[in-house]
Amino acid sequence: MIPAPGDGWTRLSPRKLLLDPVKAVGQAIIPVVVALVGISRSDTRFWPLVLPLVVLGPLLLGALPWLTTHYRLTATQIQVRSGLLTKRTSTAPLDRVRSVDLEASLLHRLLGLQKVQVGTGVDDDRITLDALAVADAHALRTTLLRRREAPPAALPEGAGVAEEVSVPAPPPPPAPPLARIDWSWLRFAPFSLGRLVLLAGAVGVFSQVADELPIWNEETATSAWEWVTQFAIAAVVVVLAVGGLALWVAVSVAGYVLQWWGFRLVREHGALHLTSGLVTTRSITVEEAKVRGVAMTEPVLMRLVGGAELATLATGVEAGVTQVLPPCPRDVAVGVGESVLEVAGPLTGPLVEHGPRARRRSWFRQLRNALDVVALLAVAWWFLDLSWWWLGAVAAALLVLGAAVGEASYRHLGHALGEQHLVAGSGTLARIRTVLETDGIIGWVLAQSWWQRRIGLADLTATTAAGTERVVVRDVRLDVAVALADRATPGLLAPFLERART
């Protein structure tokens, strides 16, 4: 049942009749149970009256959206009509369709359904069809994306469009995927700290609960502490560390598997198409014409094992930054990145270093942070009247750490200009390399703080509509910055340049 263009409005999949009541029951279950308990206590005579209501209510409510929602494809538009009392019609011109994303929760998948979201490049305005049968959803996606590929003017007038689609199109030759999941990549999961937040949250919840436990009062704590210090402090520390590590490995690996199960990245219909997910499956489309660059991130722990992450920077989608690869080997990230950029080099080529003055600033910046912490600690020490010897040790450690981080952040600095790409290296602990098409640059900001002016450095920001909307080349020599901006966007700066007189 491929949705064919024409007059006919099509309903969503009838299986939605099963989906929505289950959802409705899920939402209504608690009030209903409460009501039932209340009634059963007071009087049993109302049971025959109440029970059908309880059963039929969710069914009816769940059926409403299916009864009232219709959609259709015309030769030029996709239209969706919904609402019982207030009718709402959403339309999107087919040539404005930028993305078609499919998503399926576990329930959707059990019923063979998918939620379809059609993006038109306007940030918030997405058309949602929840839910279509899997085959219909895929057919719709293919139709919409392929239509966008062919300019409407090239189609024959009128009927041509209808014929093309109503005949089930022969499946296109499957494009070789740019990347697919390789379970040896699981080794990167524990080194990617994004999920640490989740774990910290869980620990926080546990500590809340633990506080309430009767065993957790001062006496037991003190006696436990004494016991620990007497017998087994080393053993307890080791057990805690090993236990924490094991928990972390389990959580991170499980999260990785849930998120990236069946991951595939393919290029089709002029778009990058990503599918993944074990329980909830996602299918994300990024139109290649809107991709202005990529960002490759190597977090500090992942660097140890040669891993990296890759994101595309695109304009006209909700989040301009789309992570298109799971944590994976650096070579894979570079390969996919170059394939997306359609040019080799920007992700691997050498960067122009920013010189000793930039290094000094990187060092000073981190050392100052360390000093701030030391100052705070000193105040705390003073109040608590602790041994100053400890503070000295902590301060020394912090300063050494600050110096190391400063050196690292300097080594990540750099810039380069390819034929069509501006490359910026950044990051304090993580090494980040951002590649932006020079065509995507829509302005420059050249900023100098007072310190930077004294030593002739500047922060050069290329503004863009893609991704995070800016690419910063930090602490670069002023003349180098001006020359870089001039070469990246030929002609733009020309009226404002003059030769140095020296």
């Binding site: 050249l446 001039d486 733009l492």
Partner: protein, 167 residues
Amino acid sequence: MSDEGGTPVLRAPAHRVSPRAVPYWTVTALVGDAVLVGAAVVAWLVVPGVPDWAGLLVLLVGLAAVAHVALMPRIRFRVHRWEVTDTAVHTREGWIGRQSRIAPISRVQTVDSRQGAVMRLFGLASITVTTASAAGPITVDCLDDETARRVVARLTAITAATEDDAT
């Protein structure tokens, strides 16, 4: 551009902002700093048993405020410049730091002008030119309102003529 030898240097944009910006900045700085210093003095007087060095601190705040009111508007007037050519908008601003901003006119999306109540007293207006990037708005502070009107009209005319979606 970079084929004649010698390093290229970004020159200052051609036009200064309106000279009336100096009294305007002075007044706004004066009001803001007066509130701050006043609060500091009141706190110093009211809080019982303040240590001696707190008085010194209040004095320092006061001196800094005086320096700010006296110097900031003049430095800022020297730094702030703007220029609109047929292809680009170029501004320079700041007083301790410096910021130069350049955006091609073909990428300009909106042109706003803004005139607050105090600005109206001084006959000043500000223009903000935005592009599709959140990092890219360019503001020309404190033009006299006649110039501001002219620049807005010109920019609007040029941007209306470009058809791209400016991303």
